[in-house]
């Protein structure tokens, strides 16, 4: 096949869901930092969310599988540490999708803005740590439901 454009590769990448939170894509999450061709090799730079995130190897495999399915044979995945990933890179589309999914999106204030279930604002933190490194556990005192909050880093 003829070499696809970088823009085309980005479009393919935009369809890959996050393995833990499938309502957002890897591109929305902001962890794919760069795509370029070195000769025939497509080099994709990925930055980890948390350094010990167990999804990292799954994410790399998903990227490689997708690009192979799209016809690319020479793929190189590069881990890029700097600048460190920040939740500021998450797209607005991803923030909306997270909330609809029941996860409060990250806020600069350091805590959720409102309950993703009922919109209530009387909230309490249960634990700074949740089911994955990127989430904390909170509870809404209006509807009494627990929910997860995507931590701001």
């Amino acid at each position: 096949m003829t070499q696809p454009s970088v823009k085309q590769v980005w479009e393919w990448l935009e369809t890959i869901p996050d393995p833990e939170i499938p309502v957002i894509t890897l591109v929305d999450l902001g962890i794919i930092r760069n795509v370029e061709f070195h000769g025939e090799t497509c080099v994709v730079s990925v930055t980890p969310t948390y350094s010990g995130c167990p999804a990292t190897s799954m994410i790399n495999m998903d990227i490689e599988t997708k690009l192979r399915d799209c016809g690319l044979d020479h793929i190189e995945l590069k881990q890029q540490l700097s600048p460190a990933w920040t939740t500021d890179w998450m797209s607005d589309k991803a923030r909306t999708a997270l909330e609809k999914y029941g996860i409060a999106p990250p806020q600069p204030a350091g805590g959720p803005q409102r309950c993703p279930h009922c919109g209530g604002t009387h909230l309490e933190k249960l634990s700074q740590f949740g089911s994955t490194p990127c989430k904390a556990q909170w509870r809404c005192q209006d509807c009494l439901e627990p929910f997860e909050y995507f931590k701001c880093i």
Partner: protein, 254 residues
């Protein structure tokens, strides 16, 4: 002048072995914590520490230049090759002692990572920038728990004071500089750890005072971990568990 690569390697092993050994210790709590939230918090802390280990030991392996990986360094070295401070290899004890050990370590990391972010070595600076975000969450939680348990019931207070009496003599090793540290400081790669003591004491002193705990008066410090001169008897036991699979099935991957 380029920095002595052997000394840089020692510096990186110290970083990576601290997070590796403490990460393994903390992971021993998985499934055993007093409540679910704490179990999850400990497992996540251990994960972050192991993730940071992959970065530190990955870079150490590059600097070493023998074609080894971070896994090789973690699983195929013996006790005398490890360069972690003794505090990280001490047995967990009860939940309070585990969290106090975590706090004493997190406080040091929070001071150190802030400085390493400005390292003249780009990779060290990048790893520190990544780790510092995680350390900020760790120290917030461990400090909160230390205050909660120290300034808690008579029983929890007594246990925390006992834990502090046991752990405090291991804190001094953080700041015991040697020629490796001098070389790192001269090259602008890392600060002399002795220069971090004042900031550390201020941070730790405040939290322990809030926790109504008394810092032992003795200045005695156990040493020998970060130089590899002499580890405690606990490290070998930890390694038999951590390295078992790679020793029994060399080269095993999945």
């Amino acid at each position: 002048m380029a920095v002595d690569q052997e000394k840089l390697l020692q510096f990186l092993l110290r970083q990576g072995d601290n997070t590796l050994i403490l990460g393994h210790r903390v992971s021993e709590w998985c499934g055993h914590s007093p409540i679910l939230e704490e179990d999850i918090a400990l497992a996540n802390t251990a994960l972050d520490l192991i993730g940071q280990t992959q970065m530190w030991l990955g870079y150490a392996a590059d600097v070493q230049g023998e074609g080894k990986s971070a896994d090789d360094l973690a699983f195929l070295r013996d006790a005398w090759d490890f360069r972690n401070v003794l505090l990280t290899e001490l047995p967990n004890g009860d939940f309070g002692r585990t969290l106090l050990r975590q706090f004493l370590f997190d406080a040091f990391q929070s001071v150190l990572m802030g400085r390493l972010m400005k390292s003249s070595d780009e990779t060290v600076a990048a790893i520190a920038a990544k780790a510092s975000k995680e350390v900020a969450y760790h120290v917030e939680r461990s400090a909160d728990t230390v205050v909660g348990l120290g300034d808690g019931t008579e029983e929890s207070h007594a246990r925390m004071q006992e834990a502090l009496n046991y752990l405090w003599p291991y804190v001094g090793e953080f700041f015991a500089s040697d020629d490796v540290d001098a070389a790192m400081a001269e090259a602008g790669i890392a600060p002399d750890p002795a220069s971090l003591r004042e900031e550390y004491d201020a941070l730790v002193g405040k939290v322990l005072a809030d926790a109504t705990l008394t810092i032992p008066a003795s200045k005695y410090a156990h040493k020998g971990g970060r130089t590899g001169y002499m580890h405690t008897e606990h490290l070998g036991h930890l390694l038999t568990s951590m390295q078992w699979l790679q020793r029994a099935y060399p080269g095993c991957e999945w």
